[in-house]
């Protein structure tokens, strides 16, 4: 049975209408602006919270200049971000420290240096300086450079439980993305539900079903609204990437390109899952006022997913997070958040995708059946089993 009698396929036509109508609506335009603003503000806030990583400016004056190379090496070993400079005149150097254009002024000799600071010195800078001075004293005592190197070796640290390489800012960013994903899933799932009820409430349904097989009407609607959602998320995602580059928080993995693409994948899977479920229950009612009651069982899963997201974040590799991220109703949010905030084993991601794809196939069959049976029953709410049996 072909769609075409010279015109375009029905699913394309239905989807195109949905896209046109939604893009024109204030809800879409306003929603996109609000979401974009939230994300950009969030990223700017994250970059401020992450703190300035501007280097500590250290000036060496007179006899202490011999410390520069070993100080730089020690600073690197201690993860201290420093820049070094030669200061010709101690008085001028002190003036710079007072003025705030220099953070640390090192005076004195290589074996007895003094650090001049305005109020405080970062502890790792102080340690680096002490190590440099210690090396100079050991050299002065006649130790060979190799003996000094072995004497100065830092104590190796063995980690029994490697820390999460993705840091606190990343957890925060993951949470923000998870919330946005959750909002988008709810918003676009509800949009499908409202679209289905609108067709019943305005009685256009019978005109449509006399022309369009119910499954294609449903598919066109879901695809059209899904693409609108995807467009919105792409706009928001692009704004996020721009903001990330401008504010230099690219070190936060949850805001990287791969992670944002992952979020978009989970949006699509989650949308298909929830949209078909929403469409099925929405076809049972004839009025917008009855819709909230009808979609309540689905909302319960969505809210549970939201709460599980918070439960999963502090311990993204724990049992609860792992199980929840495989369970199709929760996977779109929980797995997306886990993937952003930790390294999820690929087999778990694959399994979660396989589960949700299988669920989407099952739901599509169920929704098509319920929708076809209930779409023309205008009036009282259709019972689930009646819609299922036909």
């Amino acid at each position: 049975m072909s769609d075409k009698t010279g015109g375009r396929p029905i699913i394309f036509l239905v989807a195109r209408r949905e896209i046109r109508m939604r893009l024109r609506s204030r809800v879409f335009i306003g929603g996109t602006i609000v979401m974009t603003a939230l994300v950009v503000v969030g990223i700017v806030a994250a970059s401020l919270l992450a703190g300035k990583t501007t280097p500590v400016r250290v000036g060496f004056s007179g006899g202490s200049q011999g410390l520069v190379s070993s100080f730089t090496a020690s600073a690197a070993a201690l993860d201290a971000n420093v820049t070094v400079s030669d200061i010709a005149d101690v008085t001028a150097g002190e003036a710079q420290v007072t003025a705030g254009t220099l953070d640390v002024l090192v005076i004195g000799s290589v074996t007895a240096p003094t650090a001049v600071v305005k109020a405080a010195i970062p502890s790792n800078v102080e340690s680096a300086l002490s190590l440099a001075a210690l090396a100079a004293r050991l050299a002065d005592a006649g130790l060979s450079p190799s003996a000094i190197a072995s004497a100065m070796g830092l104590v190796p640290v063995q980690l029994l439980q490697p820390p999460n390489p993705k840091n606190t800012q990343n957890v925060f960013a993951s949470l923000v993305l998870g919330i946005l994903l959750w909002i988008a899933l709810g918003q676009y799932g509800n949009m499908v539900a409202q679209g289905v009820v609108e067709e019943k409430a305005t009685r256009i349904m019978e005109v449509m079903l006399a022309t369009v097989p119910p499954t294609r009407l449903l598919a066109g609607k879901v695809i059209g609204i899904g693409l609108v959602g995807l467009l919105q998320l792409t706009i928001v995602g692009a704004a996020a990437l721009v903001a990330v580059n401008v504010t230099n928080v690219a070190a936060i993995p949850a805001l990287g390109v791969a992670s944002i693409l992952g979020d978009i994948l989970w949006f699509l899977l989650g949308f298909l899952f929830y949209a078909t479920a929403y469409a099925a229950v929405a076809s049972l009612v004839s009025r917008q006022e009855e819709l909230q009651g009808a979609v309540a069982p689905i909302s319960v899963f969505q809210i549970a997913g939201y709460l599980l997201m918070y439960a999963a974040l502090p311990n993204p590799t724990g049992t609860l997070a792992t199980v929840a991220s495989l369970f199709p109703p929760f996977a779109p949010i929980v797995m997306a958040v886990r993937m952003a905030s930790s390294d999820v084993p690929p087999w778990q991601v694959g399994l979660a995708v396989a589960f949700i794809v299988a669920s989407i196939a099952g739901l599509t069959w169920l929704a098509g059946r319920m929708y076809a049976n209930a779409a023309l029953r205008i009036g009282a709410r259709v019972r689930f089993m009646d819609a299922f049996r036909g």
Binding site: E198, V207, M208
Partner: protein, 315 residues
């Protein structure tokens, strides 16, 4: 002689475009909605479908459109069972009117045209043509919800016509129309039938049905109980006579052999002649009361026929 059988719907001769509803039955649980419904609507004919609420008119139309499936029986068009493709070329107006309220008129009609298989450009052109025909050109870019009810009805009719249908199936197309719109609707139905389409519609407005239909089917309890042209249906109905006998006593008219009193309006009385009886017995009885000012035949209206047929079906 060459056979045109294989060329499909678009090549079918207009004369072959008969809609056949053949012994269609439909049950909703224990309720029998259609009980062997059969009728034929030839091309070029305006066909009226009358019956009480719940008689099965809407169910029949929904089955023709494929919106419902029949339990038994078959619907054929031009001799072949209706397929999805053929149904896409039926102009349909459901009993429950519906349009997208927030969609622009021209856009909505063009969309429906495309859904029915037209190319985009042709659908746009057809939408403009029908809007112009119904005097809505200057509203083409307004939302449907901003229109008056009468104008929404016009758009609804345009929606059934925009894709150049092969058949029209209209459920209560006259319900709620103002007199001007009734005239427009009647003219369009006649014009479409004249162009070679079978046009079937249901209505409770029997005077209108009598006026514009070529043929009529009266349905009751899920099947056709009488059908034919109005003239043919009248032939089956009892003969009626109007008698004005001003000097007749107050109770006169009851118990006259071979004639039954139907109604009384002052001294004017309407009788139904018993089947096979002569009307002269009634005239003589009237003359016996004094002068007779009027004595003439009365054609039964479709409403009269309708009530008689339903009474007979109930008996």
């Amino acid at each position: 002689m060459l056979s045109a059988r294989s060329v499909g719907l678009s090549g079918t001769m207009a004369a072959d475009r008969v809609l056949e509803i053949d012994r269609v039955s439909k049950r909703y649980g224990d309720v029998v909605a259609l009980d062997g419904m059969s009728l034929e609507v030839p091309s070029g004919e305006v066909f009226g479908f009358v019956g009480r609420n719940g008689a099965g008119k809407t169910t029949t139309m929904r089955i023709v459109l494929g919106v419902l499936d029949a339990d038994e029986g078959e619907v054929r068009f031009a001799g072949t069972p209706l397929t999805f493709q053929a149904r896409r070329r039926i102009g349909y107006m459901p009993e429950e009117r519906g349009l997208y309220p927030k969609m622009r008129l021209a856009e909505q009609l063009a969309y429906l045209g495309e859904l029915h298989g037209m190319r985009a450009a042709a659908a746009g052109a057809a939408a403009r043509t029908w809007l112009e025909r119904f005097g809505l050109t200057d509203r083409a870019n307004d939302d449907v919800q901003s229109l008056s009810m009468g104008n929404q009805q016009r758009v609804q009719l345009a929606a059934a016509l925009v894709f150049d249908p092969l058949m029209l199936v209209l459920d209560e197309p006259f319900a709620g129309l103002d007199p001007v719109a009734v005239d427009l609707m009647s003219a369009v139905l006649r014009e479409q039938a004249d162009a070679g389409l079978p046009v079937i519609f249901s209505s409770h407005e029997l005077e209108l049905v009598e006026r514009i239909c070529d043929r009529i089917a009266i349905v009751n309890r899920g099947k056709v109980v009488a059908h034919g042209s109005v003239a043919e249906l009248r032939m089956g109905a009892a003969e009626r006579r109007f008698v004005d006998a001003p000097n007749a006593a107050a109770g006169w008219g009851e118990g006259i052999p071979s004639a039954t009193l139907v109604s009384r309006n002052g001294s004017g009385l309407l009788f139904e002649i018993d089947p096979g009886a002569d009307d002269q017995a009634l005239l003589q009885a009237a003359l016996a009361t004094g002068p007779v000012r009027e004595f003439h035949r009365v054609e039964p209206s479709l409403g009269d026929i309708f009530r008689t047929v339903l009474q007979e079906d109930a008996a």
